[in-house]
Amino acid sequence: MTAAGAGTGTGPGVSVRDLSVVLDGARILDRVSLDVAAGQWVTVIGPNGAGKSTLLRAVAGLVPYTGTVAVLGAGLARLPRRVRARRVAVVVQDPVVPPGMAVLDYVLLGRTPYLAPLARESAADLAEVRRVLDRLDLAPLAGRRLESLSGGERQRAFLARALAQGASVLLLDEPTTALDIGHQQEVLELVDQLRRDGGLTVLATTHDLALAGGYAQRLVLLARGAVVAEGTPAQVLTERLLGEHYRAQVSIVDSGWGPVVIPVRPAAVPPAPD
């Protein structure tokens, strides 16, 4: 295993083999294969339209696909939806904020996969939710309405709802897109803490190449529905690969925690005057 970070596991976390997705006759993903070891964080990067979100949705079982997706060694396709929801939790890119709903009630919805059809939450479900709220420092906000929260607090509430599912695999689609740089850091540090403490396996997507290399042990570069590169951040975040697939001019700086991508202007443009 080529993973560079601390806290990486050994067993299979998520295993994707020959995953293809066709939507409206367009092939969005073409025989994608990737592995996330248990307890590892893998981030999928790639230009707009590469299929990153679709990949996450397929792993979550939310779009029809061919190929296999296995979590902790068990194929997901044959599992009932509720059982799957106990193993894989997903935070979509721009979650719906139900008007008027309190944080506590929102996070309680994360217990849905544990309820018998038409049943209500038990005291144990409530206790589990209070534990998650404490863990994410959301307890003081439990009675607040979701729409009254700041962007960072709201993203924590979305995370809490996913964690309440008790799943060992967490899928994050662009978790930092709407956040300022401080809240981006806060959310990513939190997820990494949860990964190291709780053995959570994380598969994320991002456009933010400045942050991508600092948190994931491995990166997967997706372009036009296919995996074009994968490996450690240093192996994937290269001027050649990003130039080829993003058509971007970048320079790579080593931050000490991982490579950081900095966009540069083409050499033809003179530097700005003072």
Partner: protein
């Protein structure tokens, strides 16, 4: 500094349940005691208790007064309670299904379909003058019911035609299109057969005035069926409120839940419309008032809408038959009078969010 109180999960609090029950009792009693012929409320209450098996009370009401209470007002009040409960519950359900606070039984074209069905029946039976009244009484509910279900089916089929791009909004747009078309067909028939315009008009505006036990018995099973189907799914509606993608990732089946609830709410609406005509805005006013006062969870909104919807429509009917004595205002006019401004308020609230 004291820590903030630990919040409890959303749920139906007993004091709201009590308030709703009291509202139903007060509205029911007011509907029985008040009217063109004023009766002592205590005597009315005694007359009601007297109906219970094993209870014998001196009511203090004369034979004529007792007949007014038991034969005229009691079925009318019972029908008002059932229609109000059904329409308010259907409105709350549609709002949950479509995640659209403006949704109500009328948005799907249910009302327009029922109106067209009723008009067809009235027009078709108008030629045989001697038996026209009887024939219309028998056929209007049936054709209204068929029209309402046909409209729901059409809206659903059109809304589903969007394929991958189908969304709750698509369904509502389809409902608006179906509704406009059916209303136009209804207006055409109404103008084409001018001799029946009065009768059609009276039905379209809504009325409980001719209510009898027959109407109550026709509606009751549908109200019970709709109520049971919707209330057992009340948590599922909260799950739907986080969006279809998330709902599915939580292990729910949004498509299945939505289909069951559309059928249930539409059946109840069609049954209510077929016995009472078109009474608008109940499905907007009641669930929204409950939402503002008692909370936004469907586990709160739906059961309380049943109670407060029943009370609201009974009071609206009371206003309809007492404000312009000796004539009656159509109840649809009363509910629209309160409902349309309320709709604007809701619209403004959404705009601010």
């Amino acid at each position: 500094m004291t820590p903030p109180p630990v919040p409890r999960p959303a749920g139906l609090r007993w004091h709201w349940l009590l308030a709703g029950t009291v509202a139903v009792l007060v509205a029911g009693l007011a509907g029985l005691a008040l009217g063109p012929a004023s009766l002592p409320p205590l005597g009315v209450a005694r007359a009601l208790l007297d109906l219970l098996p094993g209870v014998h009370l001196r009511t203090g009401l004369g034979e004529r007064e007792a007949a007014i209470v038991l034969d005229l007002r009691l079925p009318r009040v019972c029908l008002g309670l059932l229609v109000g409960a059904t329409l308010a519950l259907a409105g709350g359900t549609y709002q949950g299904i479509f995640r659209n606070p403006l949704a109500d039984p009328y948005l799907l074209g249910v009302a327009a379909g029922a109106g067209l069905g009723a008009t067809v029946a009235i027009v078709a039976t108008r030629t045989t003058h001697a038996t026209a009244g009887v024939a219309a009484t028998l056929t209007v509910p049936a054709t209204a019911f068929a029209g309402a279900l046909g409209a729901v089916g059409l809206t659903y089929a059109l809304g589903a035609a969007g394929g991958r791009y189908r969304s709750p909004a698509t369904l509502i747009l389809a409902g608006v299109a179906v509704s406009s078309f059916l209303a136009a067909a209804q207006a055409f028939l109404q103008q084409r057969y001018v001799d029946t315009i009065r009768e059609v008009y009276g039905w379209i505006m809504g009325r409980l005035g001719t209510a009898g036990w027959h109407d109550v018995l026709v509606l009751l099973p549908y109200t019970v069926l709709t109520g049971a189907a919707v209330l057992v799914h009340r948590r599922e509606l909260d799950v739907l409120s986080v969006g279809d993608t998330e709902a599915r990732s939580l292990g729910a089946h949004p498509g299945r839940t939505r289909a069951v609830l559309i059928v249930a709410a539409s059946l109840g609406t069609a049954a209510a419309v077929s016995v009472s005509g078109l009474i608008g805005f109940v499905g907007i006013i009641v669930p929204h008032t409950v939402r503002l006062l008692a909370g936004s969870s469907y586990r709160v909104i739906l059961p309380l809408s049943v109670l407060f919807g029943a009370a609201f429509l009974t009071l609206a009917d009371l206003a309809a038959r007492t404000l312009l004595v000796p004539s009656e205002i159509p109840i649809g006019v009363v509910t629209a009078f309160f409902g349309a401004p309320f709709f604007v308020v809701v619209l403004r609230t959404i705009g601010r969010q």
